[in-house]
Protein backbone atom coordinates (compact mmCIF):
# COMPACT_ATOMS: atom_id res chain seq x y z
CA UNK A 1 0.00 0.00 0.00
CA UNK A 2 1.26 3.44 -0.92
CA UNK A 3 0.31 5.88 1.83
CA UNK A 4 1.14 9.47 0.86
CA UNK A 5 2.00 12.50 2.95
CA UNK A 6 2.20 15.82 1.18
CA UNK A 7 2.09 19.59 1.69
CA UNK A 8 -0.57 20.29 -0.92
CA UNK A 9 -3.08 17.88 -2.42
CA UNK A 10 -4.69 19.19 -5.59
CA UNK A 11 -7.84 17.34 -6.61
CA UNK A 12 -8.39 17.74 -10.35
CA UNK A 13 -5.81 18.28 -13.08
CA UNK A 14 -7.73 20.70 -15.29
CA UNK A 15 -6.76 24.34 -15.94
CA UNK A 16 -7.29 25.41 -12.31
CA UNK A 17 -5.53 22.41 -10.78
CA UNK A 18 -2.53 22.73 -13.11
CA UNK A 19 -2.24 26.48 -12.47
CA UNK A 20 -2.39 25.85 -8.71
CA UNK A 21 0.23 23.11 -9.09
CA UNK A 22 2.59 25.58 -10.75
CA UNK A 23 2.13 28.25 -8.06
CA UNK A 24 2.77 25.81 -5.22
CA UNK A 25 5.43 23.51 -6.73
CA UNK A 26 7.46 26.44 -8.09
CA UNK A 27 7.75 27.76 -4.51
CA UNK A 28 9.21 24.57 -3.22
CA UNK A 29 6.17 22.87 -1.71
CA UNK A 30 5.62 19.12 -1.93
CA UNK A 31 2.66 18.84 -4.31
CA UNK A 32 0.43 15.87 -5.16
CA UNK A 33 -2.05 16.07 -8.04
CA UNK A 34 -4.84 13.52 -8.34
CA UNK A 35 -7.18 13.03 -11.29
CA UNK A 36 -9.56 10.29 -12.28
CA UNK A 37 -8.51 10.46 -15.92
CA UNK A 38 -5.22 9.07 -17.21
CA UNK A 39 -4.02 12.36 -18.65
CA UNK A 40 -3.45 15.91 -17.42
CA UNK A 41 -5.50 18.83 -18.73
CA UNK A 42 -9.03 17.95 -17.67
CA UNK A 43 -11.70 18.96 -20.14
CA UNK A 44 -9.28 21.33 -21.93
CA UNK A 45 -7.83 18.51 -24.00
CA UNK A 46 -10.86 18.30 -26.27
CA UNK A 47 -11.44 22.06 -26.57
CA UNK A 48 -10.35 22.83 -30.13
CA UNK A 49 -11.97 26.27 -30.20
CA UNK A 50 -9.98 29.45 -29.61
CA UNK A 51 -10.21 30.74 -26.07
CA UNK A 52 -11.13 34.39 -26.09
CA UNK A 53 -10.51 35.66 -22.58
CA UNK A 54 -7.16 34.50 -21.19
CA UNK A 55 -4.91 36.26 -18.64
CA UNK A 56 -2.60 38.90 -20.13
CA UNK A 57 0.53 36.70 -19.93
CA UNK A 58 -1.04 34.11 -22.25
CA UNK A 59 -1.43 34.69 -25.97
CA UNK A 60 -4.73 33.64 -27.58
CA UNK A 61 -4.74 29.89 -28.13
CA UNK A 62 -6.99 26.86 -28.42
CA UNK A 63 -8.06 24.87 -25.38
CA UNK A 64 -5.78 21.87 -25.93
CA UNK A 65 -2.88 24.27 -26.48
CA UNK A 66 -3.57 25.88 -23.12
CA UNK A 67 -3.49 22.42 -21.55
CA UNK A 68 -0.11 21.75 -23.20
CA UNK A 69 1.19 25.12 -21.97
CA UNK A 70 0.11 24.53 -18.37
CA UNK A 71 1.60 21.02 -18.41
CA UNK A 72 4.91 22.29 -19.82
CA UNK A 73 5.06 24.94 -17.11
CA UNK A 74 5.18 22.32 -14.36
CA UNK A 75 7.39 19.80 -16.17
CA UNK A 76 10.56 20.74 -14.27
CA UNK A 77 9.05 20.30 -10.81
CA UNK A 78 8.97 17.10 -8.87
CA UNK A 79 5.20 16.78 -8.54
CA UNK A 80 3.58 13.50 -7.48
CA UNK A 81 0.90 12.59 -10.02
CA UNK A 82 -1.84 10.17 -9.08
CA UNK A 83 -3.53 9.78 -12.49
CA UNK A 84 -6.25 7.17 -12.89
CA UNK A 85 -6.93 7.62 -9.17
CA UNK A 86 -10.14 8.69 -7.47
CA UNK A 87 -10.98 10.25 -4.14
CA UNK A 88 -13.57 8.02 -2.49
CA UNK A 89 -14.15 10.08 0.63
CA UNK A 90 -12.82 11.67 3.78
CA UNK A 91 -12.26 10.22 7.22
CA UNK A 92 -12.87 11.94 10.51
CA UNK A 93 -9.16 12.12 11.35
CA UNK A 94 -8.54 14.22 8.24
CA UNK A 95 -7.24 11.36 6.10
CA UNK A 96 -8.32 11.27 2.48
CA UNK A 97 -9.22 7.90 0.95
CA UNK A 98 -7.80 7.45 -2.54
CA UNK A 99 -8.24 4.46 -4.82
CA UNK A 100 -6.12 3.25 -7.72
CA UNK A 101 -8.95 0.80 -8.54
CA UNK A 102 -6.98 -2.06 -6.95
CA UNK A 103 -6.57 -0.76 -3.44
CA UNK A 104 -7.67 2.10 -1.22
CA UNK A 105 -4.90 4.04 0.50
CA UNK A 106 -4.69 7.07 2.78
CA UNK A 107 -3.35 10.52 1.89
CA UNK A 108 -2.52 13.10 4.52
CA UNK A 109 -2.05 16.68 3.43
CA UNK A 110 -1.44 20.03 5.09
CA UNK A 111 -3.62 21.93 2.62
CA UNK A 112 -6.00 20.84 -0.09
CA UNK A 113 -7.04 22.62 -3.28
CA UNK A 114 -10.26 21.18 -4.68
CA UNK A 115 -10.51 21.84 -8.41
CA UNK A 116 -13.07 19.26 -9.43
CA UNK A 117 -14.67 21.39 -12.12
CA UNK A 118 -18.25 21.45 -13.26
CA UNK A 119 -20.67 18.83 -14.56
CA UNK A 120 -23.22 19.22 -17.32
CA UNK A 121 -26.87 19.58 -16.36
CA UNK A 122 -29.41 17.27 -17.92
CA UNK A 123 -32.51 18.31 -19.88
CA UNK A 124 -35.23 15.66 -19.81
CA UNK A 125 -37.80 14.84 -22.50
CA UNK A 126 -39.61 11.60 -23.33
CA UNK A 127 -37.09 8.89 -24.31
CA UNK A 128 -34.01 11.02 -23.55
CA UNK A 129 -32.58 7.80 -22.12
CA UNK A 130 -32.17 6.31 -25.62
CA UNK A 131 -28.60 5.57 -26.72
CA UNK A 132 -27.43 8.31 -29.08
CA UNK A 133 -28.77 11.02 -26.78
CA UNK A 134 -25.61 12.48 -25.21
CA UNK A 135 -24.59 15.54 -23.31
CA UNK A 136 -23.01 18.08 -25.64
CA UNK A 137 -19.72 17.75 -23.78
CA UNK A 138 -19.81 14.03 -24.45
CA UNK A 139 -20.26 14.63 -28.18
CA UNK A 140 -17.27 16.99 -28.16
CA UNK A 141 -15.18 14.49 -26.21
CA UNK A 142 -15.96 11.79 -28.76
CA UNK A 143 -14.95 13.83 -31.79
CA UNK A 144 -11.90 15.66 -30.39
CA UNK A 145 -10.43 13.25 -27.84
CA UNK A 146 -11.47 9.79 -28.99
CA UNK A 147 -11.71 10.66 -32.70
CA UNK A 148 -15.10 9.05 -33.09
CA UNK A 149 -17.97 10.42 -35.14
CA UNK A 150 -20.98 9.74 -32.92
CA UNK A 151 -23.62 10.03 -35.65
CA UNK A 152 -24.50 11.43 -39.06
CA UNK A 153 -27.43 13.70 -38.26
CA UNK A 154 -27.48 15.70 -35.05
CA UNK A 155 -29.91 17.93 -33.20
CA UNK A 156 -28.63 20.14 -30.35
CA UNK A 157 -30.90 20.99 -27.43
CA UNK A 158 -29.76 24.33 -25.97
CA UNK A 159 -27.96 27.35 -27.45
CA UNK A 160 -25.11 28.42 -25.15
CA UNK A 161 -21.71 29.62 -26.39
CA UNK A 162 -20.51 26.05 -25.92
CA UNK A 163 -23.38 24.72 -28.08
CA UNK A 164 -22.27 27.03 -30.90
CA UNK A 165 -18.66 25.85 -30.58
CA UNK A 166 -19.63 22.18 -30.66
CA UNK A 167 -22.16 22.71 -33.49
CA UNK A 168 -19.31 24.08 -35.61
CA UNK A 169 -16.91 21.32 -34.54
CA UNK A 170 -19.45 18.59 -35.30
CA UNK A 171 -20.02 20.08 -38.75
CA UNK A 172 -16.27 20.13 -39.39
CA UNK A 173 -15.99 16.39 -38.85
CA UNK A 174 -18.89 15.71 -41.19
CA UNK A 175 -21.86 15.49 -38.83
CA UNK A 176 -24.86 17.25 -40.30
CA UNK A 177 -26.34 19.47 -37.59
CA UNK A 178 -30.05 19.57 -38.41
CA UNK A 179 -30.94 22.23 -35.89
CA UNK A 180 -30.42 23.88 -32.52
CA UNK A 181 -33.50 23.85 -30.30
CA UNK A 182 -33.77 26.58 -27.64
CA UNK A 183 -36.68 26.88 -25.20
CA UNK A 184 -36.06 30.57 -24.44
CA UNK A 185 -37.30 33.29 -26.75
CA UNK A 186 -33.76 34.11 -27.89
CA UNK A 187 -30.39 32.48 -28.49
CA UNK A 188 -28.46 32.15 -25.20
CA UNK A 189 -24.99 32.50 -26.73
CA UNK A 190 -23.47 35.94 -26.26
CA UNK A 191 -20.88 35.29 -28.90
CA UNK A 192 -22.53 36.92 -31.91
CA UNK A 193 -19.60 36.01 -34.13
CA UNK A 194 -20.10 32.28 -33.44
CA UNK A 195 -23.86 32.52 -33.91
CA UNK A 196 -23.22 34.20 -37.26
CA UNK A 197 -20.92 31.35 -38.28
CA UNK A 198 -23.56 28.80 -37.30
CA UNK A 199 -26.15 30.66 -39.37
CA UNK A 200 -23.74 30.92 -42.28
CA UNK A 201 -23.24 27.17 -42.58
CA UNK A 202 -27.02 26.79 -42.63
CA UNK A 203 -27.77 25.36 -39.18
CA UNK A 204 -31.29 26.50 -38.23
CA UNK A 205 -31.83 27.75 -34.66
CA UNK A 206 -35.37 27.21 -33.37
CA UNK A 207 -36.11 29.50 -30.44
CA UNK A 208 -39.19 29.26 -28.23
CA UNK A 209 -39.07 25.55 -29.04
CA UNK A 210 -38.87 22.28 -27.20
CA UNK A 211 -38.43 18.56 -27.73
CA UNK A 212 -41.71 16.63 -27.77
CA UNK A 213 -39.99 13.25 -27.75
CA UNK A 214 -37.14 11.17 -29.11
CA UNK A 215 -38.00 8.00 -31.00
CA UNK A 216 -36.10 4.91 -32.00
CA UNK A 217 -35.64 1.20 -31.53
CA UNK A 218 -32.50 0.54 -29.50
CA UNK A 219 -31.08 3.98 -30.29
CA UNK A 220 -32.39 7.40 -31.23
CA UNK A 221 -33.57 7.61 -34.85
CA UNK A 222 -35.73 10.72 -34.94
CA UNK A 223 -36.68 13.62 -32.78
CA UNK A 224 -39.95 15.53 -32.61
CA UNK A 225 -39.62 19.30 -32.19
CA UNK A 226 -42.35 21.75 -31.23
CA UNK A 227 -42.00 25.37 -32.25
CA UNK A 228 -45.00 27.41 -31.15
CA UNK A 229 -47.91 25.61 -32.87
CA UNK A 230 -45.79 23.73 -35.37
CA UNK A 231 -44.70 20.19 -34.59
CA UNK A 232 -42.17 18.58 -36.89
CA UNK A 233 -39.90 15.56 -36.96
CA UNK A 234 -36.19 15.49 -37.80
CA UNK A 235 -34.21 12.38 -38.61
CA UNK A 236 -31.38 12.31 -36.06
CA UNK A 237 -29.07 9.58 -34.78
CA UNK A 238 -27.37 12.00 -32.38
CA UNK A 239 -29.01 14.36 -29.92
CA UNK A 240 -26.75 16.64 -27.87
CA UNK A 241 -28.09 18.07 -24.62
CA UNK A 242 -26.73 21.48 -23.64
CA UNK A 243 -28.25 22.19 -20.24
CA UNK A 244 -25.46 24.38 -18.87
CA UNK A 245 -23.05 23.36 -16.12
CA UNK A 246 -22.93 23.36 -12.33
CA UNK A 247 -19.99 23.02 -9.91
CA UNK A 248 -19.25 19.44 -8.82
CA UNK A 249 -19.96 19.44 -5.10
CA UNK A 250 -19.67 15.87 -3.73
CA UNK A 251 -16.24 16.45 -2.22
CA UNK A 252 -17.23 19.73 -0.56
CA UNK A 253 -20.40 18.17 0.81
CA UNK A 254 -18.41 15.41 2.46
CA UNK A 255 -15.86 17.87 3.80
CA UNK A 256 -18.75 19.76 5.37
CA UNK A 257 -18.24 23.18 3.78
CA UNK A 258 -21.10 25.66 3.58
CA UNK A 259 -22.79 26.50 0.30
CA UNK A 260 -24.30 29.58 -1.24
CA UNK A 261 -26.56 29.91 -4.26
CA UNK A 262 -25.58 32.03 -7.25
CA UNK A 263 -27.53 31.27 -10.41
CA UNK A 264 -24.89 32.94 -12.62
CA UNK A 265 -22.14 30.71 -11.18
CA UNK A 266 -24.09 27.51 -11.87
CA UNK A 267 -26.35 27.27 -8.80
CA UNK A 268 -25.00 25.92 -5.50
CA UNK A 269 -21.37 26.91 -4.98
CA UNK A 270 -19.14 26.09 -1.99
CA UNK A 271 -18.79 29.15 0.19
CA UNK A 272 -15.33 30.76 0.03
CA UNK A 273 -13.60 34.00 0.98
CA UNK A 274 -11.30 36.34 -0.96
CA UNK A 275 -8.48 33.85 -0.44
CA UNK A 276 -10.45 31.05 -2.15
CA UNK A 277 -10.52 29.36 1.23
CA UNK A 278 -13.65 27.50 2.36
CA UNK A 279 -14.91 27.48 5.93
CA UNK A 280 -12.88 24.29 6.45
CA UNK A 281 -9.66 26.22 6.94
CA UNK A 282 -7.30 23.76 5.22
CA UNK A 283 -9.53 23.43 2.16
CA UNK A 284 -9.13 25.84 -0.75
CA UNK A 285 -10.87 25.66 -4.10
CA UNK A 286 -10.41 26.88 -7.67
CA UNK A 287 -11.77 26.70 -11.18
CA UNK A 288 -15.33 25.83 -12.14
CA UNK A 289 -15.88 24.29 -8.70
CA UNK A 290 -15.71 27.87 -7.40
CA UNK A 291 -18.32 29.04 -9.92
CA UNK A 292 -18.65 28.20 -13.61
CA UNK A 293 -16.69 30.75 -15.63
CA UNK A 294 -14.41 31.18 -18.63
CA UNK A 295 -11.08 29.31 -19.04
CA UNK A 296 -9.04 32.43 -18.29
CA UNK A 297 -10.81 32.78 -14.95
CA UNK A 298 -10.22 29.10 -14.18
CA UNK A 299 -6.47 29.59 -14.57
CA UNK A 300 -6.52 32.76 -12.46
CA UNK A 301 -8.52 31.23 -9.62
CA UNK A 302 -6.07 28.31 -9.68
CA UNK A 303 -3.19 30.77 -9.30
CA UNK A 304 -5.01 32.58 -6.50
CA UNK A 305 -5.75 29.40 -4.56
CA UNK A 306 -2.13 28.31 -5.08
CA UNK A 307 -0.78 31.65 -3.88
CA UNK A 308 -2.95 31.56 -0.76
CA UNK A 309 -1.80 28.04 0.07
CA UNK A 310 1.83 29.18 -0.36
CA UNK A 311 1.18 32.02 2.05
CA UNK A 312 -0.58 29.76 4.56
CA UNK A 313 2.37 27.34 4.50
CA UNK A 314 4.97 30.11 4.69
CA UNK A 315 6.37 29.48 1.20
CA UNK A 316 5.97 33.18 0.35
CA UNK A 317 6.07 36.20 2.61
CA UNK A 318 2.84 37.95 3.54
CA UNK A 319 4.01 41.04 1.68
CA UNK A 320 4.80 39.23 -1.57
CA UNK A 321 1.53 37.32 -1.36
CA UNK A 322 -0.45 40.53 -0.85
CA UNK A 323 1.06 42.11 -3.97
CA UNK A 324 0.58 38.95 -6.08
CA UNK A 325 -2.99 38.42 -4.92
CA UNK A 326 -3.97 42.00 -5.64
CA UNK A 327 -2.62 41.63 -9.16
CA UNK A 328 -4.41 38.33 -9.71
CA UNK A 329 -7.77 39.67 -8.50
CA UNK A 330 -7.37 42.69 -10.80
CA UNK A 331 -6.66 40.38 -13.70
CA UNK A 332 -9.64 38.18 -12.76
CA UNK A 333 -11.83 41.27 -12.83
CA UNK A 334 -10.58 42.18 -16.31
CA UNK A 335 -11.05 38.68 -17.73
CA UNK A 336 -14.41 38.05 -16.12
CA UNK A 337 -16.02 41.44 -16.81
CA UNK A 338 -14.97 41.12 -20.44
CA UNK A 339 -16.48 37.63 -20.63
CA UNK A 340 -19.67 38.19 -18.67
CA UNK A 341 -20.23 40.98 -16.17
CA UNK A 342 -23.00 39.04 -14.41
CA UNK A 343 -20.53 36.30 -13.46
CA UNK A 344 -18.09 38.82 -12.00
CA UNK A 345 -20.87 40.42 -9.94
CA UNK A 346 -22.12 37.02 -8.76
CA UNK A 347 -18.60 36.02 -7.69
CA UNK A 348 -18.26 39.19 -5.61
CA UNK A 349 -21.68 38.69 -4.02
CA UNK A 350 -20.70 35.11 -3.25
CA UNK A 351 -17.43 36.12 -1.57
CA UNK A 352 -19.28 38.80 0.41
CA UNK A 353 -21.71 36.14 1.66
CA UNK A 354 -18.88 34.08 3.17
CA UNK A 355 -19.79 34.92 6.74
CA UNK A 356 -23.53 34.22 6.31
CA UNK A 357 -23.93 31.20 4.04
CA UNK A 358 -27.30 29.85 2.94
CA UNK A 359 -26.62 26.16 3.53
CA UNK A 360 -24.62 25.21 6.59
CA UNK A 361 -24.27 21.99 8.59
CA UNK A 362 -26.70 20.15 6.37
CA UNK A 363 -25.14 16.83 7.28
CA UNK A 364 -28.05 16.28 9.66
CA UNK A 365 -30.55 15.58 6.88
Amino acid sequence: MKAVETDVLIIGAGPAGLAAAFETASRGLDVTVIDESLSLGGQLIQQTQNLSSLPSDLSPMRGFELAAHLIKQIEEYDIRYLLGHRVIGFYQDGTIGITDEVDVFPVKTKKMIVATGAAENAVAFPKWTLPGVLTIGAAQTLINRDFVKPGNDAVIVGSSDFAMDVALQLSEVGVQVKGIVEKSTGVLSRNTEKVKQVNKIGIPIYVDSSIVEARGMGAVEEIVIKQEDRVFTEKADLVCIDGGRSPILDIFYQLGTSFGFQKELGGWVPQYNKDFQTDCKDVFLAGNAAGVSTQGALVLTGRLAGMNVCEALGAVSKETAAVEKKGLWKELEIVETKYNLDIWHARNRHVDNFTHPVLKDQFIS
Binding site: E120, G132, V148
Partner: protein, 107 residues
Protein backbone atom coordinates in the same frame (compact mmCIF):
# COMPACT_ATOMS: atom_id res chain seq x y z
CA UNK B 1 -17.00 5.89 -37.60
CA UNK B 2 -13.40 6.56 -36.62
CA UNK B 3 -12.17 10.05 -37.55
CA UNK B 4 -8.95 9.30 -39.44
CA UNK B 5 -8.20 12.92 -40.36
CA UNK B 6 -9.28 15.42 -37.76
CA UNK B 7 -9.72 18.94 -39.23
CA UNK B 8 -7.75 20.59 -36.38
CA UNK B 9 -5.74 17.84 -34.74
CA UNK B 10 -4.72 15.84 -37.83
CA UNK B 11 -3.99 12.11 -37.96
CA UNK B 12 -4.09 10.87 -34.39
CA UNK B 13 -5.36 7.31 -34.60
CA UNK B 14 -2.21 5.18 -34.78
CA UNK B 15 -2.30 1.80 -33.11
CA UNK B 16 -5.30 -0.38 -33.98
CA UNK B 17 -6.43 -3.13 -31.64
CA UNK B 18 -9.23 -5.67 -31.88
CA UNK B 19 -12.00 -5.74 -29.33
CA UNK B 20 -14.97 -8.11 -29.14
CA UNK B 21 -18.56 -7.15 -28.45
CA UNK B 22 -20.88 -10.14 -28.11
CA UNK B 23 -17.97 -12.18 -29.55
CA UNK B 24 -17.86 -10.15 -32.79
CA UNK B 25 -14.49 -8.50 -33.57
CA UNK B 26 -14.27 -4.73 -34.06
CA UNK B 27 -11.40 -2.33 -34.73
CA UNK B 28 -10.54 0.22 -32.06
CA UNK B 29 -7.51 2.46 -31.47
CA UNK B 30 -5.32 2.43 -28.41
CA UNK B 31 -6.17 5.78 -26.84
CA UNK B 32 -9.95 5.33 -27.18
CA UNK B 33 -12.30 4.41 -24.39
CA UNK B 34 -14.39 1.25 -24.73
CA UNK B 35 -17.66 3.18 -25.10
CA UNK B 36 -16.18 5.49 -27.75
CA UNK B 37 -14.66 2.61 -29.72
CA UNK B 38 -17.98 0.77 -29.73
CA UNK B 39 -19.77 3.91 -30.90
CA UNK B 40 -17.23 4.21 -33.74
CA UNK B 41 -18.44 0.77 -34.81
CA UNK B 42 -22.06 1.93 -34.60
CA UNK B 43 -22.73 0.00 -31.38
CA UNK B 44 -24.71 2.39 -29.21
CA UNK B 45 -26.85 0.11 -27.08
CA UNK B 46 -24.59 -1.05 -24.24
CA UNK B 47 -27.23 -2.48 -21.95
CA UNK B 48 -30.80 -2.34 -20.66
CA UNK B 49 -32.35 -0.53 -17.73
CA UNK B 50 -33.23 -2.63 -14.70
CA UNK B 51 -36.97 -2.02 -14.34
CA UNK B 52 -38.40 -1.09 -17.70
CA UNK B 53 -35.76 -2.95 -19.75
CA UNK B 54 -35.12 0.06 -21.97
CA UNK B 55 -31.94 0.41 -24.04
CA UNK B 56 -29.09 2.35 -22.46
CA UNK B 57 -25.77 3.65 -23.79
CA UNK B 58 -23.11 6.31 -23.44
CA UNK B 59 -24.45 9.59 -22.04
CA UNK B 60 -21.99 11.76 -20.10
CA UNK B 61 -18.49 10.37 -20.99
CA UNK B 62 -17.34 11.61 -17.56
CA UNK B 63 -17.89 8.51 -15.44
CA UNK B 64 -20.82 10.10 -13.64
CA UNK B 65 -24.08 8.76 -15.07
CA UNK B 66 -23.23 5.02 -15.15
CA UNK B 67 -25.41 4.70 -18.26
CA UNK B 68 -22.57 3.04 -20.18
CA UNK B 69 -22.15 0.09 -17.81
CA UNK B 70 -21.09 -3.10 -19.58
CA UNK B 71 -19.32 -6.34 -18.74
CA UNK B 72 -15.63 -6.09 -19.67
CA UNK B 73 -13.29 -9.09 -19.49
CA UNK B 74 -15.66 -10.81 -17.09
CA UNK B 75 -16.14 -7.85 -14.78
CA UNK B 76 -19.67 -6.54 -14.41
CA UNK B 77 -20.79 -2.90 -14.27
CA UNK B 78 -17.66 -1.37 -15.75
CA UNK B 79 -17.96 2.32 -16.65
CA UNK B 80 -16.92 1.90 -20.28
CA UNK B 81 -16.50 5.65 -20.81
CA UNK B 82 -13.63 5.64 -18.27
CA UNK B 83 -11.95 2.45 -19.43
CA UNK B 84 -9.48 2.39 -22.29
CA UNK B 85 -9.53 -0.40 -24.89
CA UNK B 86 -6.99 -3.20 -24.80
CA UNK B 87 -6.28 -5.70 -27.53
CA UNK B 88 -8.51 -8.75 -27.25
CA UNK B 89 -10.90 -7.12 -24.77
CA UNK B 90 -14.19 -9.00 -24.47
CA UNK B 91 -17.26 -6.88 -23.90
CA UNK B 92 -20.84 -7.95 -23.29
CA UNK B 93 -23.86 -5.72 -22.76
CA UNK B 94 -25.16 -5.02 -19.25
CA UNK B 95 -28.56 -6.64 -19.71
CA UNK B 96 -29.29 -7.97 -16.28
CA UNK B 97 -27.94 -7.88 -12.77
CA UNK B 98 -25.03 -10.24 -12.30
CA UNK B 99 -25.64 -13.61 -10.68
CA UNK B 100 -24.39 -13.21 -7.12
CA UNK B 101 -26.16 -16.15 -5.52
CA UNK B 102 -25.05 -19.65 -6.30
CA UNK B 103 -22.39 -22.21 -5.57
CA UNK B 104 -19.59 -20.31 -7.27
CA UNK B 105 -20.21 -17.37 -4.94
CA UNK B 106 -20.31 -19.53 -1.84
CA UNK B 107 -23.98 -18.99 -1.12
Amino acid sequence: MHIKHHPVLGKKLQNPVTIYFNDQPYTAYEQQTVAAALMANDIKRLGSSRNLVQPRGLFCTRGRCCSCYATVNGENHVRTCMTRVEDGMKIYPNDEDPEVRGESCGD
